[in-house]
Symmetry: C2
Amino acid sequence: MTSNSADRPRWLSDGEQRTWQAYLQATMLLEDHLDRQLQRDAGMPHIYYALLVQLSQAPRRRLRMTVLAQNAKITRSRLSHAVAALEKKGWVRREDCPSDKRGQNAVLTDAGYEMLRQTAPGHVEAVRSALFDRLTPEQVAQLGEICAAVAEGLQPEGADLPWLR
Amino acid sequence: MTSNSADRPRWLSDGEQRTWQAYLQATMLLEDHLDRQLQRDAGMPHIYYALLVQLSQAPRRRLRMTVLAQNAKITRSRLSHAVAALEKKGWVRREDCPSDKRGQNAVLTDAGYEMLRQTAPGHVEAVRSALFDRLTPEQVAQLGEICAAVAEGLQPEGADLPWLR
DNA sequence: CTGATGTACTTGAACTCTCAAGTTCATTAC
DNA sequence: GTAATGAACTTGAGAGTTCAAGTACATCAG
């Protein structure tokens, strides 16, 4: 891999540049939109909400911190702070991991589950109206493929993510 | 627009859910990746870099604050803080707008321009290898369409962006 | 020209994220 | 066992973001 940029740079073509610009704007706008929606309706940023969703889908509504961090694609440090904040709000509680004394499980509380139940409809509606309603079924499929390809490339594999150094 | 979510929620289908999950992961990973790359190589977060790029492409390397905020899809407040930081680093300088005494222009300094010149190759390379190299030309075109559609939907028009209330 | 309203931008505080330690327990090698 | 290394998580400080004011100028109605 010629990663060293001492070589002549491979500038973006006009089309690529337009795509890149559109990508930056769309992702920025969408993230902002959902952040506001959730801050307003659930009192937390989007990423925190996503953590609760992950927990709600996990076996006993609990997940090891590291696993949750990996699923959500955030650092352990960020997760620690996030869970601390969510604990303060009462949506999550920590419990010691029985099998590994270093480990912690993040557990979705009943209050957290209830909160999700009440805000989920509004949130899917927001996602739908901002994203899926604006795309054809083919585009949705294309977007899935594209994102999967990109995610795969940035994933732990040929990786340098913080927790894999 | 039936925006009220009192109606039966239109949950995401399995396919949509997979796409949404892939989207969240890909955008998160990519943003993190570029943030780290630029923090390392240019000493600033991605969004700050994007601001400098916008300035570098503007007529006299200067832009009204509001226009810059709109182009970059961020709030004026965020831009104020960002420009303050960039000013401290010497990449940007503020100047009063001649025609409107309330207005400010953000101006890319020579040092800022030089810094861009030196780091741009590494940055495009990062964008290329993380995104464009992983997609077929068709997928790049598709992504462009998709993002344009999404951005258009979230844009000032039927809007509720902070600066348009 | 005066008051009301709106626009352009800034500010401070509360919150979140990152990065570099630090702590505690697990594992592995003697 | 014990020392060295590694893994799981936390912490604190600095940087960045948001939200709600606040200041200053512009514009519009009368």
